[in-house]
Homo-oligomer: 320 residues x 2
């Protein structure tokens, strides 16, 4: 691969939910001009909740970048309440999706704008701008592309049923992405990838959060055709995921969920892999950086993002 020698100016990051949002936040803070940062968000977990168009991963990134995310959960809005869901229960309805009352505003506006014919990318840009997010936030696609799982216990489930209703406890026997064949990248996505000086794959679940983005053929092709570095940050430390079912689901699908296994999963898509200090002897076949990859505080997010940027920068200089 021929790496060009442009200064590290434009950065594109692929992000899923909470983990991806944290690194996206760190990149926003670490870059000299966050207007040159573009986040490509996962929409594979989007669904309709009583008709409301919910985009959990996109909103997690948006709220995190806007500084209004729930500080403990990582998703949803801080200081939110569940009055609406509580009332749904009075109607005898299921309330397993804990949509916050303030969060409803986002989903109601999105639903209303989509119904008026606006594409998701335009709606997302509008919402993000209103919340003061200066970073570009693009859904991977404006088309339907839905992550689906077949499970031992319940058969085929929609993603949020698997993930939230059943708390990712069912055993996944098969995983696929409805609509992937036809999905086109949202406007600006391929352009951002082509213009990027660095592509970052955030520490999100490889099969549930990153793979749906890569399933948009033109996105995968643009990354494969890159002439700039693409680095991924590991979503695991040792045999443990930070959050969610990364290790469990990859195991069920016969994939190796170790740092080395995840690097191998990304294969030729990445030029470098950032792992935790604990995994520095993990037998990685790809160029790697070992550091503290936990992002428990805003400062830790910015520090990790800064290290990723410095690493890629130095590496490019060496490549000249």
């Amino acid at each position: 691969m021929a790496l060009n020698t442009r200064p590290l100016n434009d950065v594109v990051a692929l992000a899923g939910g909470v983990g991806g949002a944290k690194l996206a936040y760190g990149l926003m803070r670490a870059l000299p001009d966050s207007a040159h940062l573009t986040i490509i968000g996962n929409t594979g977990d989007d669904f309709r909740y009583y008709g409301l168009a919910v985009s959990p991963d996109l909103d997690t990134v948006m709220y995190t970048l806007a500084g209004v995310a729930h500080s403990v959960n990582g998703w949803g809005l801080h200081d939110d309440t569940r009055q609406m869901v509580d009332m749904l229960r009075c109607y005898g309805e299921e309330s397993w999706f804990g949509l916050g009352d303030r969060d409803i505003a986002t989903n109601l506006l999105r639903t209303h704008m989509l119904a008026a014919g606006k594409p998701l990318s335009e709606v997302t840009a509008w919402l993000a701008e209103k919340l003061g997010v200066a970073v570009g936030l693009l859904p991977m696609t404006d088309d339907p592309l839905a992550t689906r799982v077949d499970t031992l216990e319940y058969g085929v489930l929609e993603f949020q049923e698997y993930f939230v209703r059943h708390r990712w406890q069912p055993t996944v026997t098969r995983l696929w992405y409805d609509g992937a064949e036809a999905a086109q990248p949202a406007p600006g996505v391929v352009e951002a990838l082509r213009q990027a000086d660095l592509i970052v794959i955030c520490p999100s679940n490889p099969v549930l959060s990153v793979e749906p983005i890569l399933q948009v053929r033109a996105i995968r092709e643009a990354i494969m055709a890159r002439c700039v570095p693409c680095v991924a940050v590991s979503p695991v430390i040792g045999a443990t995921a930070f959050k969610g079912p990364t290790v469990k689901i990859m195991g069920e699908l016969g994939l190796d969920a170790s740092a080395a296994g995840i690097a191998a999963y990304y294969g030729a898509l990445i030029d470098g892999f950032v792992v935790d200090d604990q995994d520095q002897r993990a037998g990685l076949a790809v160029r790697h950086l070992a550091t503290d990859i936990r992002m428990d505080t805003p400062e830790a997010r910015e520090r990790l993002a800064g290290e990723v940027l410095a690493w890629a920068e130095a590496w490019k200089v060496r490549a000249e």
Copy 2:
């Protein structure tokens, strides 16, 4: 008019918002078997709020009958909050319609069921049943019929813009009902009127709350063709309405908003008029009952309803 001699068994009441809901509640409590009570609710003030199908008057009646209405406002749910509307404001949106968070559940379910093709009457019956309402609650129509006003200050306004956004302060120069020509009564409405032993017009705004119901031609015709008494309860005491713009708007439209004027407005639709003690010498041309028509407490609602029922009952006996 030939009044029949059936015992006062089935009662139908036409109700608008808060005032109508209070008498409907009183009737429910005063009747030996509230399953024989049917409320025909006004849908002329229904509108879409960011795509949500809101039915303010229907819900006011439903919540009041279910015992979950806001005790001070009369509309909306008790113990509700405004988190969603507050967040809408963060997006720079208008928040003049103070939709409560718990109230959103009702509107979300209604919107979702309407989108699935269910008629409003079916949706309303489902919602009311889930909240434990034993009384029949029917929207006047499943068709669109929207109260509209032309105003001196703002030109043509949708009803909720006039009523909530501008707090009924604009001067109304013209009032009409969009869709009235084509609107058919909801299933069960005409049947209930035909089967009724008594029809009650609740103390609601004659032109804004009751007239939209009467604008459904088959409803007006069924009332005109009755062979049982129809009595109205006055929404005014002296020159003052209990709530809202009754006196103001009737004056602006050149109508007499006194008890006598309102009785005259209903004309041949009513056989009797219930007024406050203060209005007993108001020069009413129709048979009337003077009593305390304030309904500040649940007990007062039941007492007034009981008096209305007893009056109509005794009157029928005399008519035999």
